[in-house]
């Protein structure tokens, strides 16, 4: 066949686009203003595609369970975890985290877990949202 792609192209004209239009159908001129408008209820956000079970997102830390054994610091490949010796607890800098969940596997008391949250972009790497303690 001379142009074997043509039938596929015609079929595609009557189909919905494969891409999920996140966060809006057309790119807003300013994302920050758009998010403010969403917060005020003026604009509607197209939600991102749902993550499957077992997704490795933002780390959740159960502070009361932690015994301060520092095993997670030993296996963390990027050095994102800091020890707080006086409290016997840890502090995780998400800006360095590689989301490998190796600390979850090694934790003897299961105080660490991965959540579904993945929209973590921030201008400041030491902002409150990016430090888990």
């Amino acid at each position: 066949m001379k142009f074997s792609m043509l039938p596929q192209v015609f079929a595609q004209m009557f189909k919905k686009p494969f891409t999920n239009k996140f966060p809006a159908k057309y790119t807003p001129p300013s994302t920050t203003k758009f998010l403010e408008a969403v917060g005020a209820g003026k604009a509607k956000l197209i939600p991102p595609i749902e993550t499957p079970e077992g997704f490795r997102g933002k780390i959740q830390f159960d502070k009361d369970k932690c015994i301060g054994c520092n095993l997670c610091i030993k296996v963390c490949p990027s050095g994102a975890i800091e020890s707080k010796p006086e409290e016997k607890k840890i502090k995780i800098y998400l800006a360095r985290c590689t989301f490998c969940s190796q600390c979850n596997d090694v934790c003897p008391v299961n105080c660490l877990s991965m959540s579904n949250e993945f929209l973590l972009a921030d201008a400041d790497k030491y902002s409150k949202d990016l430090i888990v303690e």
């Binding site: 066949m1 001379k2 142009f3 074997s4 792609m5 596929q8 192209v9 494969f18 993550t51 499957p52 077992g54 997704f55 490795r56 095993l71 030993k74 296996v75 963390c76 490949p77 990027s78 590689t98 989301f99 490998c100 969940s101 190796q102 596997d105 090694v106 991965m114």
Partner: protein
Amino acid sequence: MKQTATTKTSYHIPVGPIHPALKEPVFFEFEIEGERIVDVDVKLGHVHRGIEWASRKRNPIQILYLAERICGICSFCHPAAFTLAVETAADIQAPERAEYLRVIQGEIERITSHVLWAGVAAHEIGFDTVLFLTWQMREKLMDLTEYLCGNRVTKGIMTIGGIRRDITEDMIPKITDTLNYLKDNFEKLRKIFLDDKTIRMRSQGVGILTKENALKLCAVGPTTRASGVKKDVRVDTSYFAYGDLDIDFITPDVLTNEVNGDVYDRIIQRLLEVKQSIGLIEQCLDTMPSGDIVVEPKIPKLLNQLKKVNGEGVGRHEAPRGEVIHYVKFDGENESPYTWKVRAPTYNNILPWIPMLKGEQIADIPIIAASTDPCMSCTNRVAIADGSKKYEMQKEELHRLSIEKTRRLMK
């Protein structure tokens, strides 16, 4: 009036290291006569990141994630080869079920990589419609990867002595759905690639790598198999569970009854390998035994065991682009390895560019360069810097340094 004679007939055209036609930094210097390429010189070393050095401060479990970041597309192959090397050095045998799961992950990665490559190759010859079709197919595979491993690109699935996540009964329908979707779309893709006039015009008889050259220049992976050389680590050494599976060498003559070693053959080769990989995953799902997925679930205990290891190991794995080799040496005192050496498949597939490109036209450079599926970031392992002057060392320079050292020692 005296006429000025123009004696110069050839021109030098530098392409790269940063160039819109190239996806990754590599420097070409072409000698051109009219439209024909007379000679090619390739220079590497623009994206050296010192990953091997970074391993000197890390323990083997941490290096797994470092190895994953050598290449985004081969994010299973590099940890897999590293794990094989460590397992050889420490004499660890992974459970049988883990070996099958490793094969499934490796083959999913191969399909993802080859489908991506098919899109890039179509894009290089200006057939962008196919690019969108293939990347739509790839998206399904990325979703499957996310479902099985927890993330789309950095899989984080490999661990020393096993694998980190199991495939349970309720996960199998999603895998078979994706495989069926792939099989349907694979037929479409095969028709487009093999019957379309545009693709045949641009790829047949272009960038020929003969069998002799492929053997002489040690090409690996689909590049060498498309030239008719039967070289595949999966069949040659039967690591993981490949020994139990029905797998044989694939060369383009299965489909066309002849081997030309041109770009068209390399397209056929990769499409055939996608089909083979789908078959391998199905075989694994059918014959997978039950049991443990990791030999030592307690990571601190495993690290203590690895700390005492005094020895070396080599891990070989057939990555989508060819054979990847990792070498690891432990000294028995430190937790981090004494040496870690990586040889990515593109390293071997650089030199075959020269016979492929010679005699071709300038416009064929992108498709020929893309036909070996190069991955520069994986390859760059050596860069020699001395102050701000020298970036790399020539042969003469090294020879002079060697003589100087000999004289110094003789004093």
